[in-house]
Symmetry: C2
Subunit: 401 residues, 2 copies
């Protein structure tokens, strides 16, 4: 189960970079992607061999960047359930709806995948100090894994990031600061900090390995369906690392001979109050413009200008997908509907994708018989204030009505 | 993978009960336990065969009470990580400490195991209405699984149950009531309700199958250690179903020929403010007395008089274990220590067990080289108010210090 990582490569200008030392962006300003010797991996690991491995994401070790098993910093991430959602699907007009429930990851969100692989690779490369801006959950996840690894972490997050993420980062011992602004303001502060101190910048996509953790969602969806790909995957996109990762996983699995036939349509879901990718897709542009006045209750997708926008848009167009925005009101309704019909308390970002599935069905962009996967990126427990109920109170001697 | 369930049996008076219809307590007032044809199971399933099955708790289907796979109501419960906690262990003086992290279950706690199996069996037996009192998390979990199953559920919980559990139950559509009192008051209200309406009483241990879900923690610990049992398992006990279940699993695994040698010491952990089992153990009694004025911030172990007390005490004594109480202050300190040293945000009940591990080591009741497993029964996300930090706030133009 040795890593077949060979090098890093720029997906914009094609420049090749060494993988053996810490790396950030390409000289051209683009994120870097990890490349593997897929021919060697194809010989080393088969789909049948995978079936006997533990369920966490390290089952795909040959396609991950960490060579030394001792460098693996793990809390049991990955291997999340892919659940049929029959009744919810029927309520939305979709007869073959599934939810990939990332809320059962350590730290309660899919950010654990990126943090596990990113922190492990940083440890392997000898990095001792990390710094990053975060909308909330990535900061919490990286704080947990950095604590486990014994690596110092500095995080900066918007002052109105979910309270649970602020506490999570600080609880795990990260040097945690808030900023009266957006994640873009936090990013600027971190950029100045790393320039001054030499801490490693672990910002989304400025660090090339968190995407490698996220891509395992794509591997898992294929494997859990017996390598028979679904028709569409709906993904709530903030930075968009997950959808870039799934797209990368599809390309790798095709090269490995693990999948055949048409790839799923990759569908980007954003909030109406922050939809740079949706606008860029609609207007046929290759990258996005900074979204002024970003506002949505789904903090994880409140990213005004994703660094990897061109890679997200490439993934969507390459697979015949689309990009769609939903309202905060639709998000809240989808949380309630999913809890009652599927038994899952999903996060607002995942709820955006559920709402989008219904809308795309109504608009005829998804067909009733298509196999559709919604990525629920995290647990609703991290957002308790989005639901509230006025419950009746009894005295000990009272009877239930 | 057919169930080998044969009947229900009273562990107090030995009476045999039919398993094919809904059952509550024995006529003698004791909980009933599920029995299996272990000889047949031994022929049907081997340890090697298990290795190829999916990770969730249904891998032990032969030893679970649900016959019809279509009746399985699943959110992917079980198969939780068993994580080494080296640095945390060294801080406590224990060189081989492990945490079984139940926080990655659906609904964020180990209650998902009991709810999955209990609701599935109820569905299989044709039950259409359930009612139960709850300290909080069980109500949330049963609400999620009942919603998924399409079964009506009524829950009553103390007014000061964690806010997240109140919202969770209501969000999943359970008929949710609060009571100005303790779980024992909620239990009395539910008892009157089921007598009047014919709803099935799914109270802890009045319903014989949730323990079957909980026992899978014992199977998993054995399997995850390669069938080489640890020296001790620390379990935070409210109702104590988990420890009864683990004890039952040990007996079953021994009969199946899956384990050999000495069983782990089963150690009950309670809070100083509610320690009926600890007092009963210390005074050599076979059951506990109602604990007056129960008070601890760990809501899940605030149970003044567990119905299965005699079974818990039997499990502890049978395995050479012990029972110990820790203070709320120790619980809060253990949450912080575990987050920094192991990268896990654990629940207060799990933190009680971490604190107890340190105390038992200092008291010489655990040796430094013993392999010790702490059961963290849930995620700390469900208790965000137990940690707080005053974080510095920057303006967008500011630099990090």
């Amino acid at each position: 189960m040795a890593s077949h990582l060979t090098h890093l490569e720029c997906p914009r200008c094609g420049a090749r970079h060494e993988a053996g030392r810490p790396a950030n962006l390409c000289g051209c300003g683009s994120p870097l992607l990890a490349h593997y010797d897929l021919e060697a991996a194809r010989r080393d690991v088969t789909r049948a061999a995978l079936a006997e491995r533990p369920r966490d994401l390290w089952r795909y070790a040959e396609l991950l960047p960490v060579s030394d098993p001792a460098a693996r910093v793990s809390l049991g991430e990955g291997g999340t359930p892919l659940l049929p959602a029959g009744r919810l699907g029927r309520a939305l007009g979709l007869n073959d709806l599934w939810i990939k429930d990332e809320g059962t990851n350590p730290t309660g969100t899919f950010k654990a995948r990126g943090a596990a692989v990113g922190v492990s690779r940083a440890l392997e490369l000898g990095v001792q100090r990390l710094a990053m801006p975060t909308a909330g959950n990535a900061g919490g996840a990286w704080a947990a894994y950095a604590a486990r690894a014994g690596i110092d972490l500095t995080v900066v997050m918007p002052q109105d990031a979910p309270v649970i993420n602020r506490r999570e980062a600080a609880l795990h011992g990260a040097n945690t600061h808030l900023v009266r602004g957006l994640i873009s303001d936090a990013g600027a502060i971190v950029a100045r900090y790393v320039a001054r101190t030499g801490a490693f910048d672990a910002s989304t996509l400025k660090e090339p390995y968190r995407i490698e953790g996220k891509k395992t969602m794509g591997y898992e969806i294929a494997e859990q369906f017996g390598w028979d790909l679904p028709d569409a995957i709906l993904y709530p996109a903030g930075g968009g690392v997950g959808i870039i990762g799934i797209h990368k996983a599809l390309a790798e699995m095709a090269a490995l001979g693990w999948i055949r036939g048409r790839w799923p349509k990759l569908i980007v879901v954003q909030a109406e109050g922050c939809r740079p990718l949706v606008e860029a897709f609609a207007s046929g542009r290759e990258d996005s413009s900074f979204w002024q006045g970003a506002a949505t209750l789904a903090a994880g997708i409140r990213v005004p200008k994703p660094l990897g926008d061109f890679l997200v848009l490439r993934a969507v167009r390459d697979t015949g997908g689309t990009a769609i925005a939903v309202s905060d009101r639709e998000i809240l309704e989808a949380i309630q509907l999913t809890a009652r019909e599927a038994g899952l308390w999903i996060c607002p970002e995942g709820a955006a994708a559920v709402a989008a599935a219904g809308r795309l069905r109504r608009d005829g962009l998804l067909q009733p018989t298509e196999r559709v996967v919604v990525l629920n990126t995290g647990s609703g427990f991290k957002y308790p204030d989005l639901v509230d109920f006025d419950l009746p109170v009894l005295e000990p001697g009272d009877d239930l009505p």
